[in-house]
């Protein structure tokens, strides 16, 4: 067991600067407004640094810097870019502990998750796209003896990326790695709840990227996000967030006729078929862990398995065992490596989760465990902690339909396969889902029948590069985490070439 010292205190592996400017054209520059906003750690609720309050002028400067850099960056060989991505990955790996503690301090998530998931996945993501771009090939079509269609991949130019606060570094890397690999320059706006950890990463890799290839403008959505999304000189916008802003970003994109990729969350079902409980073996333990996975990252995951559907024939026993497992979740200081659930990322997030717990009670759902804010004492009393919470109810209830983005699980039962699929698909969203069964037939049929982009089957919450991730229905457009994301950061150049030695004969 290790408890990392708070960043900035003696013995800490990382120290944040007291202030972060915008990073434009390869250097830090003060925001046009001259203003900064305070950044709070959700671990204690205390301010730990100030961050630039960017606006449209800063976005303009960043886009301009991006185009300036694109003139040469867009022409680099895939080998050069792959080498840079691999160097970034190496640099991150050498600083795993530093980045992990920095991320925990900005976001509130437990350091054992940042050490084992967030940062290692981000490292691997750079390596994956370094490999993918090296292996990518264009194509040629021989149309006839004299005519050939060549297809080349070309970068788009300067692209905008708006990053969420739940995995600040990992979600940034999901967007950065394919965009850089493809040869684009980037203007990135971090979330205002978690604006700082990306600058710790940047501090480690700044020397590896030519000036202007990556530009970071901090600020609020209305002041910096909207000017970026609506900018008439970006060639693509990528966003992870919620549906209203997703629609707004598409509206802006329609005005500029640029492509968008969106990842907009969901209300993921996690289905446990009766054969799960056929034996109390290690597979049963695995399924129980799957049940408890709603608490990963404090439930602040777009694919949080926040609806558990348990077959009626095993319902009581499986649920009772699941509750016992959830009772063993250790809540505490996120910087303690024993801690399994940390702080919610912001006060308004905490308030929203508590309001949903009230809604659940008012709708008549039965509270089985949790249901309160957690006061962890000492300096953590000011942090934003919620007890892992389980409700039993019906799928029509709002706590079954709306993404709470907290450690709140809604449980219901189903009688047979058809009802399981009906309940699973009775949602506006379709990002993730879980299927648990010992039967190959059941798990295959269920996985194909569920309207979601990612169906974890006898597992959950794995996010390896090379497995496509994205939504059906109102959960978004595009597939991240896979080489197919390169297509979203490239355009196709077709050279249609005639090798005929004479005229076509029309004129």
């Amino acid at each position: 067991m290790t408890v990392y010292a708070n960043p900035g205190t003696p013995g800490s592996v990382v120290t944040y600067k007291s202030r972060y400017d915008n990073y434009i054209g390869g250097k830090y520059v003060a925001p046009n407004s001259g203003q900064y906003f305070e950044n709070i750690t959700p671990v204690t609720g205390q301010v730990f640094c100030e961050v630039a309050r960017g606006n449209s002028k800063d976005i303009d400067a960043a886009v301009e810097a991006g185009w300036k850099a694109f003139a040469s960056w867009g022409k680099t060989s895939v080998t050069e870019r792959a080498i840079i991505l691999n160097k970034i990955a190496d640099r991150m790996e050498e600083n795993l502990e530093l980045l992990s503690v920095a991320e925990t301090w900005d976001n509130g998530k437990p350091v054992r998750e940042t050490m084992a998931a967030d940062i290692p996945l981000a490292i691997d993501h750079f390596r994956y796209f370094a490999g993918a771009i090296r292996a990518q090939e264009g194509s040629l079509g021989e149309l006839n003896e004299d005519t050939v269609a060549y297809h080349f991949h070309e970068p788009l130019g300067v692209v905008g990326q708006i990053i969420p606060w739940n995995f600040p570094i990992l979600m940034a890397v999901w967007k950065l790695a394919p965009a850089l690999a493809a040869g684009n320059c980037i203007v990135l706006k971090p979330a205002e709840q978690t604006p700082a950890s990306i600058h710790v990463l940047l501090g480690l890799i700044e020397d590896l990227l030519p000036a202007g290839v990556l530009n970071i403008v901090n600020g609020f959505g209305i002041e910096a996000g909207a000017p970026l999304a609506s900018h008439n000189n970006i060639r693509k916008i990528a966003f992870t967030g919620e549906t209203t802003t997703g629609r707004l970003i598409m509206q802006y994109a329609s005005e500029n006729l640029i492509p968008v990729t969106l990842e907009l969350g969901g209300k993921s079902p996690n289905i446990f078929f009766e054969d799960v409980a056929a034996q109390k073996d290690s597979y049963y333990e695995k399924a129980q862990e799957g049940f408890a996975f709603f608490a990963l990252n404090q439930g602040e995951v777009c694919t949080c398995p926040s609806r558990a559907l348990i077959q009626a024939s095993i319902y009581e026993g499986f649920l009772a065992d699941g509750i016992e497992r959830v009772k063993k979740i250790v809540q505490g200081n996120p910087l303690d490596t024993n801690t399994m659930i940390g702080a919610q990322a912001s006060n308004d997030q905490l308030e929203k989760i508590l309001s949903y717990i009230d809604i659940g009670k008012a709708e008549g759902a039965k509270l089985l465990i949790g249901g309160e804010r957690a006061d962890l004492g000492g300096e953590l009393s000011g942090g934003y902690y919620v007890q892992p919470t389980i409700f039993e109810g019906k799928n029509s209830m709002r706590i079954f339909q709306e993404e709470i983005f907290g450690p709140v699980l809604s449980v219901t039962s189903f009688k047979d396969y058809d009802e399981a699929i009906d309940i699973a698909n009775d949602t506006l969203y379709g990002l993730g889902a879980g299927v648990w069964s010992r039967s190959g037939s059941t798990m295959y049929r269920a996985g194909r029948a569920i309207q979601a982009g990612r169906v974890w089957t006898n597992t959950y919450h794995q996010y390896p590069a090379h497995a496509a991730f994205g939504g059906y229905k109102q959960s978004g457009i595009g597939r991240e985490n896979h080489k197919m994301m390169l297509d979203h950061y490239q355009q196709t150049k077709n050279l249609l070439v005639s090798y005929a030695e004479g005229p076509m004969g029309f004129f």
Partner: protein, 129 residues
């Protein structure tokens, strides 16, 4: 008796007045989905294009301001139609493009189930055939 679907707290009304001073007339669109989903987004009128997929839940009367419309997508409203909403404001670092975020506060929805009289008024009492 006048029934409403959406109300607003005094604190949220104060914030709307302040934000109207900065941005001009405002409206709300209730979000869903990830991260800041399930939060009301407050925009200057004209910034967000309302479409045929949206439902106007309420036109809010806030003293000193032009009427403020509150919308939600029709598909989301199907799940929300039995609840009464109150717009409140809490401390926090909001997100999305909602106008109040730079103030260090966030509009938030508090909900209760509609009572029998309200269900009747809004035509939501199940018909027995």
């Amino acid at each position: 008796m006048v029934f409403s679907r959406v109300e607003i707290t005094d604190a949220a009304a104060d914030m709307l007045r302040k934000m109207t001073g900065v941005h001009g007339p405002l409206m709300f669109h209730q979000s869903g989905g990830c991260c800041d989903g399930s939060s009301p987004m407050c925009f200057p009128v004209g910034m967000f294009r309302i479409g045929s997929s949206d439902v106007l839940l309420q036109t809010l009367e806030v003293e000193g301001l032009a009427p403020i419309e509150f919308y939600m997508s029709a598909s989301q409203f199907e799940y929300w139609k039995y609840t009464h909403l109150t717009i409140d404001v809490v401390q926090g670092r909001g997100s999305g493009f909602s106008v109040e975020a730079p103030e260090g506060v966030r509009f938030m929805i508090r909900s209760r189930m509609l009572n029998d009289a309200e269900l009747d008024y809004f035509g939501l009492v199940p018909q027995v055939h």
